[in-house]
Structure formats: C-alpha cells, structure tokens
C-alpha cells in the first residue's frame, strides 16, 4: 500500500489537480478578498476560457498555450467591464460587506445563467474537444501526458508569480492590505479603485487561463463550469476567505484528499471525504486553514 501511496503516478496527479484547483481558487479569492463579491459565475468564466482555447486551436491552429496571454486579457476585459458597469458604484457607496455579498451573489447568479445560455446560442451545446500535446512521456515508472505537464508548469508558474507579486511588490502589498482591512487601507492612502480593478482583472484573467488549460484534457460545453465553481468555493473557504496562500494550500489539500481517498478507500467515498474534511476544517478552524478574522 505504501508503495502505491508514494507512487510517482499518484503524486503527479495530485500535483496537476492541486495546481489547477489552486489556480481556479486564486481568482475567486482575489475578487472576494478585495471586494467581497461572491462570484458564483466563476466556473462560467472558466468555461469561456475553455472555449477561447478551443477556438484558438481549431480556427487558427495556434496552441492554447501560446494564446494564453490573449485568453487572460479577454478574461480581464470581461472582469473590468463588469466592474465598471455593475460593481464600481456599488462598492463606492461603502455598503456593509454582508449587503455587498448578498447583492453580488444574486447578480452573479443572473450573469451565470446569461453567460451559459448566450454561449449555447453562439456555439450550440454540442460538446467540443481537440487533440493537443497528447504525447505520453515516461519518467521512470511515471507516465505523463504532455498537456498535463503543460498544465502543471503554467499553473505553478502563475501561482508562484502571484505569491511573489503579493509579498514582494508594493502594489501586491496594497492588495493584501485591502484584503485584510479595507478601512485601514483607505486611511493610509491606498488607491482602492485601482487595487480593485487590478484584482478583478487578475482574478478573471487567471480563471480564463484555467479554463484554457482544461480545454486540452476535457470536453468543452457551455455548462461545464458549475463543478469548478463548487471546487473553487471549497478551496477558498477551506483556505480562509481572502487568504491567498491559504487558498493555494487548500487547492493541493483538496487534490490530496481526492486522489488518496479513492486509493485508500473507494471512489464512492470521494465526496464524503472531501466534504467531511471541509466541514471538519471549518469546525476546528472557522476562519479556514490559514484564515484570520477579517474586518
């Protein structure tokens, strides 16, 4: 059993799945942390990123990996448009965070329905898929498909870059300051509007990248996003709402539970263990794994 648990194959799967979960959770966490927006359409923006990858490859032959900057820009543009049209004024009113959360939840629910149906009208609901980087490489006993290796590298690079950006740059620290204490951030002169704009652009850009990466290994449909919305919420709640590092740790923890639960117990126990761990963490540490009380 120990051999199985320590096998490179399972570790590789944990790494790919964990990096993806962490990347998907990152965008949701940034948007919630800085603005208290509960984006339950998060998975639908991932779906748009998946279509971006699919269309780039099938219409132009350009690898979705090469097109990632454009996919990210597209995601960021959607986020900034929503911010300018819907959320900027709401946030500027200084409403109670609970009110913002409730309103954004309803708004994003509507946005989710609209995006799904517009996509189905534009592209039909027919599943789409394509072959890209599907060569299998062997590293010792571990087999790795090219597109999964690429997914891992891209996701880890972005996660690493984000941690450096948030911890080592002045602007990153401004984002963290806004997440930790909105009023204090305003008092010390942080340009709240600018931080919010960057956060929503990065949040939507990274989830679009996640979708584009997933399009290399999954079928793409207008309705594929919901399970990733759920996964993203599990990740950021486990990690501590607004806690970027906690979210990344939780992404990998979720992958560990998911892969090893199936290995040790059975595939049927997967959901029980994931949500069991989720509830247990919240009981033991209501602010999440690395969470702290927010103001």
């Amino acid at each position: 059993m120990l051999d199985t648990l320590l096998s490179g194959q399972l570790l590789f799967s944990v790494a790919v799945l964990g990096a993806l979960y962490a990347l998907i959770g990152l965008g949701l966490n940034l948007v919630f942390g800085t603005m208290r927006l509960l984006n339950i359409a998060h998975g639908d923006f991932l779906m748009l990123g998946a279509y971006s990858g699919f269309w780039w490859f099938t219409l132009t032959g350009i690898s979705p990996l090469i097109a990632l900057p454009l996919t990210a820009l597209g995601g960021a543009a959607i986020g900034l448009t929503l911010y300018a049209l819907v959320f900027r004024q709401q946030l500027a009113k200084g409403l109670d965070p609970a009110v913002i959360e409730a309103r954004s939840l309803l708004l994003f629910f509507g946005i989710s329905v609209v995006i799904q149906n517009l996509t189905a009208m534009a592209f039909t609901a027919t599943p789409r898929a394509y072959r890209h980087l599907d060569t299998v490489y062997q590293l010792g006993e571990t087999a790795m498909t090219g597109n999964r290796i690429a997914t891992l590298i891209v996701a880890l690079t972005i996660l690493g870059a984000m941690l450096v950006f948030l911890n080592r740059t002045l602007f990153g620290m401004e984002i963290k300051a806004l997440i930790q204490h909105r009023e204090a951030a305003r008092i010390v002169g942080i340009n709240i509007n600018r931080v919010q704009m960057v956060s929503i652009a990065v949040g939507f850009g990274t989830v679009a990248i996640s979708g584009s990466l997933l399009s290399m290994t999954e079928q793409v449909t207008p309705f594929m996003g919901f399970r990733f919305t759920i996964a993203a919420f599990v990740v950021i709640i486990m990690g501590g709402l607004g806690n970027i590092l906690g979210g990344i740790v939780a992404g990998f923890l979720l992958a560990i539970i998911e892969i090893y639960a199936v290995t040790i117990f059975s595939a049927e126990a997967r959901s029980i263990l994931i949500y069991g761990a989720f509830v247990a963490i919240l009981i033991i540490s209501p602010q999440g794994l690395l969470g702290r009380a927010r103001r």
Partner: protein, 390 residues
Amino acid sequence: MLRRQLIGSIVGATALISAFSPALADDPVRIGYTIARTGLFAAAAPSQEQAYTLWAEQVNAAGGLDVGGEMRPVEFVSYDDESDPSKAAQLYERLITSDEVDLLMAPWGTPHHLNVAGVVERYGFPMVGNTAASVMIREVEPGNIWFPTSAIPDQIGPQLAQMLSEAGIGSVAILANVLPFSQENLQFLTPALEAQGIEILMSENYPPDITDMTPLLTQVRAAEPDAVLALTYPADAFLYTGQARELGIDPQLQFLLIGPTIDAFANAFGPVADGIVTLAHWSPEQEAWPRARPFFDAYVARFDQEPDYLDSALAYMSAEILQQAVAEAGLDHDALRAAIAGGTFDTINGEVRFDGVQNAVTPTAFVQRQEGRMQLVWPPEIATASLVTQ
C-alpha cells in the same frame, strides 16, 4: 473546418427560418417537442435536435410531409425543458392543449420520456420516442408511446458477455459511474459475465463528478484484465480514455458505455479512439440499410460533424417512423396510433416494427471504431466488420 461550420450554422439557421416561414405554405403541420437546451443534459441534447432539424429540412425540401396523400410543410413548436422531466411533462401538456400541435416528437433522455408518457397517455396523443433506454420503459402503458431503441440494459449485459466470451476474453475489470443507466447495466452485466465464466477481477463504482481516475486506473493496471468495461457517461468517458492512455492501459478490449459515439470523442482522441467498443445499433457502414449512408452524409454536410451513432440515429429513426405512419394514416390520433402500432417501417437502421412499446426487430448491438469508421461488430447478423482485439 469549424469556421465553415459556424458559417454553415448561420446559413442553415437562416434557411431554417425561411423554410418554416408562413410564406412556404398556408397550412403547415405543426410538430411539438421539448428539449434540454439548458441544464444538466444540455450538452447531450443537440445530437437529437439536430437530427430533427435535418429531417424537417429534408421533408420541406422534398415538397412537404405526406399527410394521407396531401403534401404539407412541417413547422416545429419547441420549448426548452431545462433538463427537468416534470417541466417537460407540463410543456407537452401545453403543446397538446394550448398550442394544439398536430404531432409530437420526443424529448431527450429516459426520465423525460417516462414523465411525458403519462401526458400522451392521458390525452391519447401518439408519440414515437427515441433516446430512452431502461427496463422501465416496459412498465409504460402501451398504446401511445413506442421506443425504437434496442439498447436496453437487460439485453446489453448478456449480449456484451457473449461477445466477450466469443472473443476469448477471460477476465475483466469493471468501472461504473453511479448514475442510473450505468448502474442498471452493471446490475445485468455482472451475472451475465459470471454465466459466461468470465472472471471479474475488480468492480468499482465512481461518482459522476470524478476529476481524476488515476487511483482507479492504477488498480486496473495492476489487475491485468483481458478487458476493461467502463460503464461511463460522456464526461468520464473522456477522462477514462485520456488517463488510461497515459497509464499505458492497453488490454485486449476496452468497452465504454456512453461517450465514444459523440463527435467530440473522435476529435479528442483521434487514432486512440480506434479499437474502443461502445453501445450503438446503427452505422452508416451497413449497406443492407440503404438509408443509413445518405443520412450520415447529409448530417455531416449540414452540421460539419458526425451524428451521434446512438442518439442522432434514434431521433432520425423516430422521425422516419412518424413520417411513414402519417403518410398512411394522416393526423387522426386513432388512425395514427394503429398505424404506428401495427406498421413496419423502413428506417436508417433497417426495418422497424413494434411489439407493445418496444422495437421487435433491431437487435442489441455494439460498435467499434476501426481506422476512423464506426463499424457494427455485434451481433453477427448485422455486423459490418469483425471485432478487433489487441
């Protein structure tokens, strides 16, 4: 190719609107149906609705539907049932009572068919079903609904076991989605394998939202079965195939329940999809069914993708049956009911005749993609190629 498809879709949609506009004729035959355009089943439903669309375009292009000798154009009245079977039932009631449609076509999926069966029974409105596959369809009151499918789990299990036995398969590993169709198949497959003396080395269920199958597939690889029987739905069929390939799982035979018949599967896996066996009873390769190849070619030309070998074929068959019954009986419900119940129909899947609610002619069958072509490999009487094992 997809750019052409996009342009084709726009042109096609325009043509469809034009074709169904009142300018074509004053008295169209109005045909009602609901389909899952949104919700859980939305990704599966286009293969059915596209077959309806193609059939209607072909009928109108040929001068209309023969209604007991009178040619009339067809016009669809359709609603999104949001993948909700109870909503489908409400909408079929509306189609019958409020929209007063002349004919009905079927929604997508077994739960929807079973819910709508009560409505058509209540109003005595005959409807030919298509994409329903469960032993439960036999519990439906016969008389107003018929099921052309032969993909019924209590037949699939014994037939699959017999095919495996004749191919020399001595052991299998089974992976089954916990969703109803997979579990119903598992229920009949397990005893059928045992009856054939095929050893079941492992049998594991998995949830529909599984995101990584590596742990399960590691166990499969260690078990070294002659064949892997993955009772999949489309999403996990993609996951299984990609990850089994990554792990080098290459048994004598791989069977996937649902998934490999959809166009995207071949696009995702190309030559890797070759050799995979799946559930379907139709193929354009069967020359004994002269309508099969023209349907395939017309579908590809119209939608720039292959039809689903199960759902698209069944949807088109149901339309053909309705068309031929209306030609004989007209639109009167009693006459139409008698025509469908007692008639023999020439379809893309060959001859179809009903015994109660079920197709009494088409055998339960399996297909295998061989060099990019979907070949019928079981049963021998309709096979277009021999089953290829590794």
